[in-house]
């Protein structure tokens, strides 16, 4: 098996840890992300994941931000973000009141001998093969963060060339707006 050097070594795969997930509705304008990031960095919060996309109304964007830092300061930071002129609202969501999903692409080295076992794992996680070569395979898996972590653990029996995770997106349960 040839050696692959990768910057994506599996050191600390823990997306489901003790962080917090914020959903922020913002004006779809340049600089908004910078304003929000400055609030977090100034207060020593680290951004673990970040998903931004245009809202249904193109005037707005939706951000889902996973952050970790001193929980004592969290309420105040949410208010500091909320008072930015370009922020419509900023809510924290817990796993109790919301659904959280992410997607991962996993690229593994996989010969034809190993392929059927890899496909079984993919099927078990409800994933899909989105690229296949005689020596490699790219698998796509959706789910909550622990499921994605588990999939990475299972695929670790192969040589993982790289992984790309989208980061979490969150939506409030029931009729509540996010």
């Amino acid at each position: 098996m040839k050696t692959i050097t990768t910057t994506d070594t599996p050191v600390a795969i823990n997306s489901s840890g003790s962080g917090h997930t914020l959903s922020i509705l913002v004006n779809n304008q340049p600089g908004v992300l910078m304003r929000i990031c400055q609030v977090f960095s100034r207060r020593g919060f680290n951004i673990d994941s970040l998903v931004v996309s245009q809202g249904r109304n193109p005037s707005f964007s939706r951000m889902t931000i996973g952050i970790s830092g001193d929980p004592a300061g969290l309420d105040q930071i949410i208010k500091q973000v909320g008072k930015l002129i370009d922020v419509i609202h900023c809510f924290e969501h817990t796993s109790m009141d919301s659904v959280t999903k992410e997607m991962i692409l996993i690229k593994i080295l996989c010969s034809s001998d190993e392929r059927s076992a890899a496909l079984q794992i993919t099927e078990h996680f409800g994933g899909k093969t989105v690229d296949l070569t005689p020596t490699s395979m790219v698998v796509m898996i959706n789910g909550d963060s622990p499921k994605v972590d588990a999939a990475i653990a299972m695929f670790s029996q192969y040589e993982i060339i790289e992984t790309v995770r989208t980061g979490k997106v969150v939506m409030a349960r029931g009729e509540q707006p996010t």
């Binding site: 600089g31 910078m34 304003r35 400055q38 100034r42 309420d75 208010k79 008072k83 002129i85």
Partner: protein, 599 residues
Amino acid sequence: MKNSSIFGCVVAQNDATSPSISNFMSKQQIDGAQALIKTLDDLGIEYIFGYSGGAAIPIFDALETVKTKMKFILVRHEQGAVHMADGYARATGKPAAVLVTSGPGAGNTVTGLMTAMMDSVPMIVICGQTVTWMLGKDAFQEADIFGITIPVVKHNWLVKDTNSLPRIAREAYHISTTGRPGPVLIDVPKDISQGPFSGEMNPTFNLPGYDPSSDFNICKKSVKAAADLIASAKRPVILAGQGCMIARADKELMYLAETLDCPVTSTLLGKGVFPENHPLSLGMLGMHGTAYANKAMIECDLLINVGSRFDDRIIGQPSKFCKDAKIIHIDIDPAEEGKMIKPDVMIVGDAKAALTEINEKISKVKHPEWNEKLNGYKKKFPLSYKKQGGLRMQQVIDELYELTEGNAIVSTDVGQHQMWAAQFYKNHESYHWLSSGGAGTMGFGFPAAIGAQLAHPKKTVISISGDGGFQMTLFELATAAIHKLPIKIVVLNNHYLGMVRQWQELFYEDRTSGVDLVGNPDFCKLAAAYGIPSVYIKRPADVTKQLEKALAYNDGPILIHAECVKTDNVFPMIPAGAALEDMIVEAPKTRMAKPVGST
């Protein structure tokens, strides 16, 4: 071609087009800069402080081609312009505009913006910028001032559409002056300002994330909870901050204090919102506040904070601050709730609206024992200074207070003289005290006094600076001289950066480092170089006579150079980060531990 006027704009007009010159909405071509200047005028902006430069030429040109009521003041450095706008706002409650060019011009506004942001001061800064197609390509005098200033403004804009200029200017004014006020910045690329304008002069806002009208909806439940705490308090104290002043709640505050027979202390920025010569006033609290105000904090059983953000200069060590007292916190900014001190009752909203509701629920009480106790502290720990052994800054300030009967508008710089001015110049009303609190910006005071004097030409305006701070913005002597502004420019010269020297003496075994201002100019000769007269004071016995002379001169600025003792210390003092209980009221006999707090 001939020139004609559209809403006061002189514009080149093609003879073939309609000659309708008075019609505001006529189709004659104006540019973005003219629309911008016209909008500022419509908004009631009275002064524009600024400094020209390449990328701002179209906007400066519009100052000539659009007829407005606005007055332009050419400064000598952009920092001066921002502090002047700041001083104007602190003396009136209204914003002024600042107009500067791109790159270094815009960059020089950053300290002034930060100063205004920290102290919730409204102002509108407009910067020229390189043309849009050169943005991000390191064009001459290009700076990403939008990115640079995000942390020091309430909001900012990089304009990409000429037709949006009036909307953005109106939004800027609205955001700057409502809710918790603050500075705003509009970055205008040159092709945008000189591009043809065909938009709406009075468009609707596009601010879905900003609704300051909710500041006036006060939570009834919180008001009830606050009234209950007030009813059961035996030793209440009111802490009046600048939020109370901005809301113009002076009368409501007075009613609250007098109805409850409740002593009032104020923050540095809240000075004057409750008259400091009132029997219930405890003066300023905090690191260099009065001993009686700080003792009141320690011993009270209820603290009513009206519009102060519990700055670290006030609370010392948060865990020990007012730990036996219930705390009511009124603040317009929801993000202030629990930031420093966790209140028992939080009322988010406008201070005037909140106090009006609270005042409806309180009844007259007396607290004779409590006030007697505090009056005892006033007698035991009065603010004092020596009149022997050389001239003290305190004496100059004290006599200025007496001679002006507390009616002057006073600006200060930052340091020892600032604290002494806060202690000895008692403010009797709001908007008369201009001092950089949160940012602690040296060089602020003198330009701020220029802004205040322009706003109030008839009032006595005194700029009190140390020799350090004054030299940071002294070039504005030219601005004051040209406009014949009768500012009393007091330079309290101890040849030291006194506050740092005080710390070095008390906490660093008297190792002075980087504080000796050897090489100070002769400030009287310096003033003379600008055609400004001066008086010189060295002996304590001369203070009254010389100050009277200076106060009587109103044909322009006059400089008062007071040569003061080199080493003097400000007391009372609570070392940074220490509990209020650790206050020292006089020079300590033993060496003190280094403070754990910031500065």
